[in-house]
Amino acid sequence: MSWVPEPTLNSYLILSAVLFAIGTAGVFLRRNLITILLSIEVMLNAVNLTFVAVDRYLGSVDGQIIVFFVMTVAAAEAATGLAIVIALFRHKESLNPDAFTSLRW
Amino acid sequence: MLSFITPELIFHLGIIVAAFFALQIAAAGLVYMERKVAGLIQQRYGPYLVGPLGLLQPLADIVKLVFKEELRPKAADKILFYLAPILSATAAFAAFAVVPFGADTDFSWVAKIPFVTSLTGFTGLSHPIHLAAADVNVGILVIFAITSMGVYGVVLAGWASNSKYSLLGGLRSSAQMISYELAYGLAFASVIMMAGSLSIREIVDQQAGYWFGFIPKWYGIFPQFFGFLIYMIAGIAETNRAPFDFPEAEQELVAGYHTEYSSMSFALFFLAEYINMVTVAAVATDLFLGGWHGPFLPEWLGWIWFFVKVFLILFFYIWMRWTLPRYRYDQLMEFGWKWLLPAAVINLLVTAGFVIYLGW
């Protein structure tokens, strides 16, 4: 398979950069809280990829451990975030972030 | 050119194909077995018309299913509706892929069969190969990962077919699977801790031998008896079998997540369910019942032991289903979270304590 260029560290990093950018774009473009949360997950995963790649490059395992922590944090974030989403949805039948602009109602 | 085609490769492919078909046949066989055992338990005959002792019944069922018409609710989500059964079936097969069902062997016993050597010149493989579709050295993780994917088939089926029964069934089953996965995983973890390895094959090999010459050193018997119990209970819940069969609780929600399915796509779900049973049983055998290790049989026939054990566990499954009534849903959840999970945690801690301080 010599015709396929070997992936280097940079290719991994670029990949994760692209994913991250996509995630951010999602956060801004989507008008649906759930999808926005999903986009955040995308961003997190981009970061994870960087960690693991660099980890491999340095031949250590610390990055993988941090990935582990990121995942736990992501879990916590998803749990609370979705709970908030549900609570919001109960108030106004809408998931549009622009619909929730006042701190109290 | 074809130099990469070695006898090892051929045999390995053979094993994979064998495993694949064995699973399907097992599924068919299970259907038959289930109905027979049910008949036994309920003191009736069960299938007996089609073929001798009704042995061909499963075949008939399959044929019937194949010739049925594919129905799809109008409001269903096209892609997902068809993706769902495929997903669950795939997950079911994939999970079994990493389960080894016999000791490494170089098949020299094949050569012992008359004429084999003289006809093919085969005298046994140059190096022994694993009796498993794929031998991954983090096998347990893989199994766990794939089982956790299995839930999607159900959930999607529930959601895609856009009917309240299916949706409820899907929600229920996914909630149930998630809840019991924890206990399931913890049971795994304690075994991993004891064996100090993630490779199923090594775990099995650690269970070779006997205490006092007659008690087999199976984790399921002494050190991990409770782990075994927890695993079995969680496993039953994972595979949505009675007494935990909420996803398809007929009385409450017609047929649960596959209410709207028919013909082959329904068959796929069916298949998936039974293959999952087999997988759970096989994993239980490997992790807790010493896999292919057993008395009386030479190493290269160990797989027979393996199948015997799996068969027994499956029988136990069916037995459970036809003797126990169904839980109530809240009871199920309460049991999962308030009893099974703490029990699993305690089991894990105790195991850890033993491993650290008694150096098992």
Partner: protein, 173 residues
């Protein structure tokens, strides 16, 4: 082989994530995201980190995403509501959207450029350490050097759990 797999996975990941962001049905977004997770875990395997790959599937795809799925099912908000001119005008909901999109594009370009200017660093291909021992090392470091962080996360999870329950409870105290 590695190389080919890498490009395939990368392509899958990017396309999937693009679609996650790109189409409006949240249900599909969730599933596509799972797809991209699958691709990522494939990449992790290529990077010789099977443990991470496994927990990526188990935790992310197996648990977190199911949570999302739940919510989507519960709220059954098939697709997002169209932008109401009212909000758009009042908060300039549209303004930040466009700007943000542009900015993210900018970030992509910046990073891309930065990495281009970096001299390329080849990865030792093939896994340099048998995964089992990798898991072992991870375990050791996790419970020795990162013990505190670990405990802290456990507390975080607990808090998140309680918070989620409080938030999602229907009857308000």
């Amino acid at each position: 082989m590695h190389a080919l797999l890498f490009w395939i996975f990368a392509a899958v990941a990017i396309v999937a994530s693009l679609l996650v962001v790109g189409q409006r049905n949240p249900m599909h977004s969730v599933l596509l995201l799972i797809g991209s997770f699958g691709a990522l875990s494939g990449l992790y395997v290529l990077l010789g980190a099977p443990f991470v790959a496994a927990i990526q599937i188990i935790i992310y795809a197996g648990a977190i995403m199911v949570l999302f799925l739940f919510v989507v099912m519960l709220l059954n908000a098939a697709s997002e509501d169209p932008v109401t001119g009212y909000h758009a005008r009042l908060i300039g909901g549209a303004g930040p959207r466009r700007l943000g999109a542009v900015l993210s594009l900018g970030l992509a370009i910046e990073l891309f450029w930065a990495l281009r200017n970096l001299q390329t660093a080849p990865l030792a291909s093939g896994d340099q350490q048998p995964p089992a021992t990798a898991v072992y090392d991870i375990g050791l470091r996790l419970f020795q050097n990162y013990a505190f962080a670990f405990e802290a996360t456990s507390v975080l999870i607990l808090v998140a759990m309680v918070g989620a329950i409080i938030l999602a409870r229907r009857e308000r105290a």
